[in-house]
């Protein structure tokens, strides 16, 4: 066990955990930030996506000891009132079915738009391809990303 000072959603938080614990489980079990989801544990499904700085990162294979003082943003911290353009677009398009993967989708999409405010269809597909939606809401996700990119402009 070791003590880690993490910068999560603009707050400095301290956790005691095994250094090999993936950030995912630190967020979920230690910090009670359960919006970040467990899907596969091997960075294949994207449900656990958070931002490390501005970069969409799979938290299930990122050990807590490797995070350091980098800024971590989870779905809970993406915006104060759920009014990030991507969140608003998701609501407007009414994307979710079961909803489980959507936090990860939103975190990947918001990181994409930060880097590339007006992505093409192909760029959206490429960037989002690591996020599985088992319900098959892909067409709506693309629509919402495009809507958010327009509201960004």
């Amino acid at each position: 066990m070791a003590t880690f000072n993490l910068n999560v959603n603009g707050k400095s938080l301290t956790v005691d955990a095994d250094p090999n614990t993936p950030l995912l489980w630190v967020l979920r079990d230690h910090l009670n930030l359960v919006g970040t989801k467990y899907g596969c544990g091997i960075a294949q499904c994207g449900a656990c996506t958070v931002h490390l700085g501005d970069v969409a990162t799979r938290s299930c294979m990122l050990t807590v000891s490797s995070v350091g003082n980098q800024e971590i943003t989870t779905i809970e911290g993406l915006s104060e009132n759920g009014d990030h353009p991507v969140q608003k677009a998701w609501l407007e398009v009414d994307v979710p079915q079961c909803g489980y993967c959507q936090a990860g989708q939103i975190m990947t999409a918001s990181a994409l738009l930060k880097k590339n405010p007006n992505p093409t269809d192909e760029e959206i597909e490429m960037s989002m391809n690591g996020n599985i939606c088992r319900c098959g809401t892909y067409t709506r996700i693309k629509k919402a990303v495009k809507l958010a990119s327009k509201s960004n402009a």
């Binding site: 489980w25 294949q44 909803g99 993967c101 098959g136």
Partner: protein, 753 residues
């Protein structure tokens, strides 16, 4: 106006008279505890000081805010929005004044609290409407009494009661207390479809804001004071069972509280098929955090041994059946050989019309083709999990289940508790697809909590989830068509089976459309457990049949849509047999609609189109799928969907469901498979188990609904099976080569030379 007896499901309307004096509603304490937060995130509605229960489905606050309880499990099919919409419409309340809450399992108040068979809306259609209409009627009665005027002169619209002649008016909240004390009438008036104001209009997902902001909603998100986390280890292969384990080092690991084994069901417990599990003894690792228990599990030294032949006496919907699990370690390669061998032998004749043998013997031409599909894992994005808190004489369970009622009996039996001491509450669920119809993990969670004497959340790892069984069976089908010298189809023969069940629907189309028809089936036993997977059996047979008919249409020189319509016309005008279980005119209706909406007759340059249509869950779906070639790679570009599922409650959400079913069907048929080597599932996680991803999904999906005013039928499943046929037919147009064996991505001719 439709008059209906409130006797139907009347127990849902029995009012607790002890509440009448105080008026304040009680019960559902767990929900009440959540209420302020719920209200805050819903629509910032001001909460009432008092709630008045009108019936088991709704309560009205003194300020007019209405809480509607959604009885069925929410697995992504959006019933948590659409079921309350039905209640709200008949109540005639502004939707913005509605708070939706998930109802707990309550067999006294509700029936069919199941997410299965695409039946949530259809089986509750009248009950939900009655719930709203009854409350509305009682509010009108209360107003009539208060104002001393005839009830027939009171109008109730959008939460307001009005008596025009006297100029009296009041909000529902003002009359809720008085209304809650009135007797439920014997009969109640329901609205005509033309009077609906909410049903048939698109309303957004009631949990949408919580989903996009990452609020706790799912079973895996449950947190409780003093809660421990558990995970389980089951045998690594079907055909194996637990022999012994050594947990001495695992128990020394940080955060680990205990390691023990549990026996899920007692030997003498008569399981239903929904209780079943391949692995009745599992090793449990109990600890403080999820990561700790998942790590410690790897450190438990477990010895497995080969399981003997096993026979289970089971029930399925009250019918007794015997399920054999033969000993041995099975392989996908030998599965295929066994299925081919069975298909070459005579099967069990399920339906025979006319003289198919003679028709085939005299045919000018016989077309014969075989199709197959592999086992599939459901792979809900949220792995199996459940919270349980078992104390002396009581069990509380909370989590994702599609069948709380069916599991309650098993949990009560295993804990030796009466049914009323087992309380089950549902969370939102990260997908179902049939997997959560099989709730052995609920029994496991309860047993672990009992042993731990603590509240426990059981969490399956992805690998444990994917290798546990309850798969979509593997199926195989051989079709034959006899053509006369004019290339007319004069006989049709299907012989099909699977491991361990047959996917045959002998009375579905094209049965009824042909004078000579033969349907046979067969089964092969296995120790690999299988279960319902979105549109069970249809999820294979639809695609196989629709691919085959495409080939027959081509051989007949007919347009594939017209070919089907001609058969349906025959089935409608001169049906063969009396047990055909589809309505030919509705079937034809979706085909005609998809022909028009997709611009089928106009053709499309550069597009390779396939069509398919199927009937299941009392609904009709036709799809036209367009493939375009990108270099040598076929890509699904667009799908046009026509659906007849009767009245559509929430059109945009229904469209979402149809889009999802279409994507899911393309994905499963094209990419997914679960294979076995010596009993071991070879795909354990999403690195080897391929699911459809963004870049493989269609660019656009257009969904159209038939507007016929018929009572609603299923929607969660029907758009899923037929698209597999449309995909196969479009791939043929694009590549010139037909695909027969799923997943299509691996159905390639062997390399020669």
């Amino acid at each position: 106006m439709t008059l209906i007896k409130t006797q139907i499901g009347r127990r849902a309307f029995i009012k607790n008279t002890s509440l009448a004096s105080g008026g304040l509603i009680l019960g559902f304490s767990m929900l009440n505890a959540c209420k302020p937060k719920q209200a805050e995130t819903m629509a910032a509605l001001e909460m009432p000081e008092e709630w008045f229960e009108m019936n088991g489905y709704l309560k009205i606050g003194d300020n007019g805010v209405v809480t509607i309880l959604s009885p069925n499990p929410e697995i992504g099919q959006n019933v948590k929005t659409s079921m309350p919409m039905i209640v709200a419409d008949e109540l005639d309340i502004d939707w913005s004044q509605v708070i939706v809450e998930q109802a707990p399992l309550n067999t006294k108040l509700y029936s069919w609290q199941v997410a299965g068979g695409s039946r949530s809306i259809s089986s509750s259609w009248q009950g939900l409407r009655m719930a709203g209409a009854t409350a509305r009627h009682l509010l009108k009665e209360a107003a009539a009494q208060a104002w001393q005027v005839p009830v027939s002169e009171i109008s109730a619209v959008a939460g307001m009661l009005t008596h025009e002649a006297s100029g009296n008016s009041a909000g529902y909240g003002e009359m809720a207390s008085a209304a809650s004390k009135l007797e439920v009438p014997e009969e109640i008036e329901l609205k005509e479809q033309s009077e609906f104001t909410i049903i048939g209009t698109s309303r957004k997902n009631v949990d949408g804001k919580k989903i996009v902001t990452g609020q706790p909603l799912f079973g895996l998100d449950v947190q409780r004071e003093g809660m421990l986390i558990a995970t389980v280890a089951h045998p690594p292969a079907f055909g194996m069972t637990l022999k012994s384990f050594d947990a001495s080092s695992a128990k020394q690991m940080p955060g680990i509280k205990d390691v023990f084994s549990i026996k899920v069901y007692e030997d003498d417990f008569k399981r239903s098929t929904f209780h079943h599990t391949a692995f009745n003894e599992v090793v449990v690792v109990l600890g403080e955090t999820t990561w700790q228990v998942m790590q410690a599990k790897k450190a438990v030294q477990i010895e497995w041994e080969k399981a003997p032949d096993r026979t289970y006496g089971m029930t399925m919907f009250g019918n007794d059946m015997t399920v054999n699990h033969p000993a041995g370690m099975e392989n996908s390669a030998s599965h295929k050989e066994k299925m081919e061998a069975m298909s070459a032998r005579p099967g069990r004749v399920v339906r025979r019309d006319g003289n198919p043998e003679a028709a085939f013997a005299n045919a000018a031409k016989v077309i014969e083709r075989s199709y197959s599909c592999p086992f599939l894992a459901h792979n809900t994005m949220e792995p199996m999990n459940f919270f349980a808190h078992v104390t002396e004489g009581h069990a509380e369970l909370l989590g994702p289940t599609q069948t709380p009622e069916w599991m309650e009996t098993a949990i009560a039996a295993r804990l030796d508790l009466p049914l009323d001491k087992v309380d089950i509450m549902m969370t939102r669920q990260g997908g179902g697809f049939g997997r959560r119809l099989y709730g052995h993990f609920m029994v496991e969670a309860a047993l672990i909590s009992k042993q731990a004497k603590a509240p426990v959340k059981l969490v399956y790892s992805r690998e444990e989830d994917m290798t546990q069984g309850i798969y979509r069976p593997a199926y195989y089908a051989t079709y034959r068509a006899a053509l006369d010298e004019n290339n007319n189809m004069v006989a049709f023969h299907v012989k099909t089976g699977g491991i361990p069940e047959s996917p045959l629907f002998a009375n579905r189309f094209p049965a009824g459309a042909l004078d000579n028809y033969l349907a046979e089936d067969w089964t092969i036993e296995s120790n690999i457990t299988t279960g319902a997977f979105r549109a069970p059996r249809s999820n294979f047979i639809a695609g196989a049949e629709q691919s085959f008919l495409d080939e027959v249409a081509e051989a007949s020189g007919k347009d594939p849509i017209q070919f089907r319509l001609d058969l349906l016309q025959r089935a409608q005008q001169h049906p063969v047999g009396e047990r055909n279980d589809y309505e030919a005119d509705r079937y034809a209706g979706v085909l005609e609609m998809v022909r028009e909406k997709s611009g089928w007759d106009q053709g499309a340059t550069g597009r390779h189109r396939g069509v398919s249509a199927y009937f299941c869950h009392n609904s009709y779906v036709a799809q036209v799928l367009d493939v375009i070639m990108e270099g040598n790679e076929p890509k699904v570009d667009r799908v046009c969907v026509a659906i007849d599922c009767g009245i559509v409650v929430n059109p945009d959400a229904a469209t979402n469901m149809a889009e999802g079913g279409t994507v899911d069907g393309i994905g499963q048929a094209m990419y997914s498979a679960m294979t076995f080597k010596d009993g071991v599932p070879e795909e354990k996680n999403f690195d080897r188990y391929r699911l459809i991803r963004h870049a493989e999904a269609p660019k656009s999906i257009d969904v159209h609904f038939v507007d016929n005013g018929k009572d609603p039928t299923g929607l969660g499943e029907p758009p899923f099976p037929p698209v597999m046929g449309a995909l196969a037919n479009a791939l043929y147009k694009a590549t010139g080569r037909r695909v027969y064996h799923q997943p299509f991505i691996t159905d390639r001719p062997p390399l020669v030379g």
